[in-house]
C-alpha cells in the first residue's frame, strides 16, 4: 500500500505498480489481437510480456513523457509493419502510443494529478475509472459515426473495409458513391424534396412557435400550462402514433400524399422545439422594455419587431435550426403522410438500406453529419452570444 500513496512528483514502485498494470493493458491488446487470429491465450501472454518490457525499458531509460510516448509508438509501429504490413503499421502506432503514454503516466505519478494529495488509493482509483468510463461512453457514441466516414469512400459496392482500404492503398478509395449521390435521379429527387420541405416546415414552425411562446409567456393567458402541454405533445407522443393519426386524418381531408401535407406534419413536429427555445429566451426578457416602447408611441407590432424580436432572436434561430433538422432527418411521418412523389432523403436512405445496401447511403450520411455539425455549432455559438449579451457569462 505504501508504495501507491506517493506524493506528487516521485515515482511509484516499478515492480509492484507500473509494470503489472502496463502488462495488464498489454495483455488486453494482446487478447484482442490474439482473438482475431484464433490465438487467444498466446496473444494474452505475449501482450502482457511486451507490456511489462515496455514499462521497464521506459522507466529505466526514457522517463521523459513526450519522447517516451513517441518512441514507443515508433517501435510498435515498426513491429506492426514487419508482422502485418501497412495495417500493422497503423495499428502498432496507435497501440504503441497508448501503451507508452500509459506506462509513463503511471511511472511519473501523473495519475494523481487530478485528485488532492490526501486522497486514498481507492479515491484515486475511482477518479481515474470515472474519467475512463466517461471516455468509453464518448467513444461508443461517436465510434459508429466515425466508422461511416471512411467507409463512404469505399471503392466497392459493399459496407466493407476492403484489404486495399486497410492497406491505405489509394485504389481502395474513391468518390464514386458521392458521384452516385450527385448524379442519380432518385437521390437528386429526394434531395430536392428535402430542400423544398424542410425550409417551408421550418418557416411555419418558427412563425407559429414564436407567437405561441410569446402568448404563453403573458401571465393573463388562461390555461397556460394545459395549452403548453398540448403544443409540446408531438415531442412526447411516440412518433409512430402521431404518424398513424396524421395518415388517417390527412387522408380524409385530402392532404395525404401532398407537399402541403408533409410540410404541415413536419411543422407540427418542429413547433415544440421553437416554443421551448423561445420561452427560454423570454425568461430573461424585461417586460418594462415593451412598456417603454409603448409609452413612446409604438404599436404592439412595431414593438414586437423593433424591441422584442432582436432580443429573443438567438432563441428563435436555435429553435429554427432544431425544427429544420427535425424535418430534414425525419423518416417515420413522411413515410405515412407522404407518397412516393414526396420522397425525402431519409426516406430514400431507409428504403436504400433495406433493399440494397449501397455505400451511397454512407456518402449521404457523411454529408448530413457534416451539415448537422455545422448547424449545431451555429446554435452553440448563438447561445453563447445570447448569454454574453445578457451578461450571464463573462466574455
Amino acid at each position: 500500500m505504501t508504495t501507491i500513496v506517493t506524493p506528487r512528483g516521485t515515482s511509484p514502485s516499478l515492480t509492484g505498480f507500473t509494470i503489472p498494470l502496463t502488462a495488464a493493458l498489454g495483455g488486453f491488446f494482446g487478447l484482442l489481437a490474439g482473438s482475431a487470429n484464433d490465438m487467444v491465450l498466446a496473444g494474452l501472454v505475449a501482450g502482457a510480456a511486451i507490456g511489462a518490457a515496455t514499462a521497464w525499458v521506459l522507466a529505466r531509460f526514457l522517463p521523459d513523457r513526450r519522447r517516451g510516448k513517441w518512441a514507443t509508438a515508433a517501435v510498435y509501429a515498426l513491429g506492426g509493419l514487419l508482422s502485418g504490413g501497412t495495417t500493422g503499421l497503423v495499428a502498432g502506432g496507435v497501440i504503441g502510443l497508448v501503451m507508452g503514454w500509459f506506462a509513463l503516466w503511471l511511472h511519473s505519478g501523473r495519475y494523481r494529478a487530478g485528485v488532492p494529495v490526501y486522497a486514498t488509493p481507492l479515491q484515486v482509483l475511482w477518479h481515474n475509472s470515472y474519467l475512463f468510463i466517461c471516455g468509453l461512453i464518448f467513444f461508443f457514441l461517436i465510434a459508429p459515426i466515425i466508422v461511416v466516414i471512411p467507409l463512404s469512400f469505399n471503392a466497392e459496392e459493399f459496407f466493407t473495409f476492403t484489404p486495399k482500404m486497410l492497406a491505405l492503398d489509394p485504389e481502395g478509395y474513391s468518390l464514386r458513391h458521392y458521384r452516385d449521390f450527385f448524379t442519380n435521379p432518385d437521390w437528386q429527387q429526394a434531395l430536392r424534396n428535402s430542400v423544398r420541405i424542410a425550409p417551408a416546415a421550418t418557416l411555419l414552425s418558427v412563425s407559429l412557435g414564436t407567437l405561441a411562446a410569446i402568448g404563453l409567456s403573458r401571465p393573463h393567458v388562461p390555461f397556460r400550462r394545459a395549452i403548453m402541454a398540448i403544443l409540446i405533445s408531438p415531442m412526447i407522443v411516440p412518433l409512430i402514433i402521431s404518424a398513424a393519426g396524421m395518415y388517417f386524418f390527412y387522408s380524409r381531408i385530402g392532404l395525404q400524399g401532398t407537399y402541403a401535407g408533409v410540410v404541415l406534419a413536419h411543422a407540427a413536429l418542429g413547433i415544440p422545439f421553437v416554443i421551448i427555445t423561445v420561452t427560454a429566451t423570454l425568461v430573461g426578457f424585461d417586460e418594462s422594455l415593451t412598456r417603454a416602447s409603448a409609452s413612446m408611441g409604438a404599436g404592439p407590432v412595431r414593438t414586437f419587431f423593433r424591441v422584442q424580436m432582436p432580443l429573443i432572436l438567438p432563441g428563435v434561430i436555435s429553435g429554427a435550426l432544431f425544427a429544420f433538422i427535425t424535418s430534414f432527418d425525419e423518416v417515420v411521418v413522411v413515410l405515412f403522410v407522404g407518397s412516393a412523389g414526396q420522397k425525402t432523403l431519409p426516406w430514400q436512405m431507409f428504403t436504400g438500406l433495406r433493399e440494397q445496401i449501397s455505400p451511397t447511403i454512407l456518402a449521404v450520411a457523411t454529408i448530413l453529419v457534416t451539415l448537422s455539425i455545422l448547424l449545431l455549432t451555429t446554435v452553440e455559438l448563438l447561445r453563447r452570444r445570447s448569454e454574453r449579451l445578457r451578461g450571464m457569462s463573462p466574455g
Binding site: E157, S251, R252, S339, A340, G341, T351, R354, E355, I357
Partner: protein, 366 residues
Amino acid sequence: MKRKILLATAAATAIGGAAFAASHGMMSNKLVLVSWGGAYQNSQVKAYAEPYKAMHPKVEIIWDESSAEAVAKLRAMNEAGNITWDVVDVVASDAIRLCDEGLAMEIDHDKMLAPAPDGTPASEDFGELIVSECFIPQIVYSTTFGYRTDVAEWGGKEPDDVCDVFDLETFPGKRSLEKRPINNLEWALYCDGVAKEDIYDVLETEEGQARAFAKLDTIKDQVIWWSAGADTPQLLADGEVVIGSTYNGRLFDLIVNQKQPVKMLWDMQVFDLDGWIIPNGLPEDRLARALDFVYFATDTQRLADQAKYISYGPARKSSAPLVPDHMKPHMPTDPENAKNTLLYNYEWWADYRDDLDAKFQAWLAK
C-alpha cells in the same frame, strides 16, 4: 426468325395498346409504380418504364420502393379510402392474400393482357403461373445458395449439394439463412433424409416439424439470419459468412457485376413467382393508365427484355426463346441449373404459415 417475332410483337403491342386506350377514354398522366428497389427495380425501369415513357412522353412515372410492406400499406390505404398506388409488384403469396381480402382487382388475363406473338391467348401463355385471379405473373425467381470460393478450411472442396449447408465438418464457417420458416424447414427435412415429394406431408405433423427444427439446431450457432435480400450478398462479400441463401438475381449481381469470389449452388433451389397486381378502387382515368401500362409491360418482348438486365426467368412461355444467350446460364430455369428444384407450395403455406411462424420465432429465441 427472331426479327420477325420482334416485329410482330411490336405491331401487336402497338395495335392492342391503342385499341385498349381508345376504348377507355381519358387516361391519367401520372403513374405510381411500386416495386422492390435495387437491381430488380432497375431492370423494370429499363425494360418497361423507359420504353413506355418513350411512347407516352407526357406520362410521369413515379416509383415507390414499398413492395416489402405492400399488404399492410394497401390495407391502410383501403381503410383511409385513399389509394395512392396504381400498379404494385408483389410476390405471388402476397397477391393471393390481397386478392382474398378484396384489395386487388380481379384480372381477365385474356382480355387485359397481350396475346403471344403467335396468337396464343395470355392465359395459356402464362399457364399455371397464374396462381390467383388478381395476379399478373412477371418473373420466376428462386431462393438458392451462394458460397465463397476462397475458403481455406474447405481444402479445395466446393459444395454441390444443398445438404452441404448442414455439413459443418466438411464446410465449416458461418451460414446465412432467411429469418422465416419457409424454405429452411423444407431444406432441413430434405437433408434429414425425407424424400422431396413427402416433405409437406411430413411437415404437417408435430414430429415432422420437430425433426426439421432438430436438423436446423445442428447448425443454429453458425447461422446469421437475414431479412432483406441485400443482406446475404453483403455478408458474402464481407467474408462474414461462407455460404448463404438469397434470391438468385442478387447472387448474379454479386458474381457477375461486383466480381466477388462467389459461386452459385443451384441444388434444391426453391422457385417462386413475382408479378403485378392492380389495387381495387382506382378512379377511372388512373385505372385506364394502369391497365395500359400492364398490357405493354407484360407482353412477350418486354418480359424477355427484362431478362437482359437481371437473371430472372420471364413468366411467359413465348418469352423464353427471346432471352439473350449470355443470360441463359444464369437463369434459374436453365436445364443445367434446374436439375433438382422445389416449387414453393402456396396453398400449404397459406394454411400453416401463422402456426409455423410462431414456432420458428420461439425456436429462434431458445
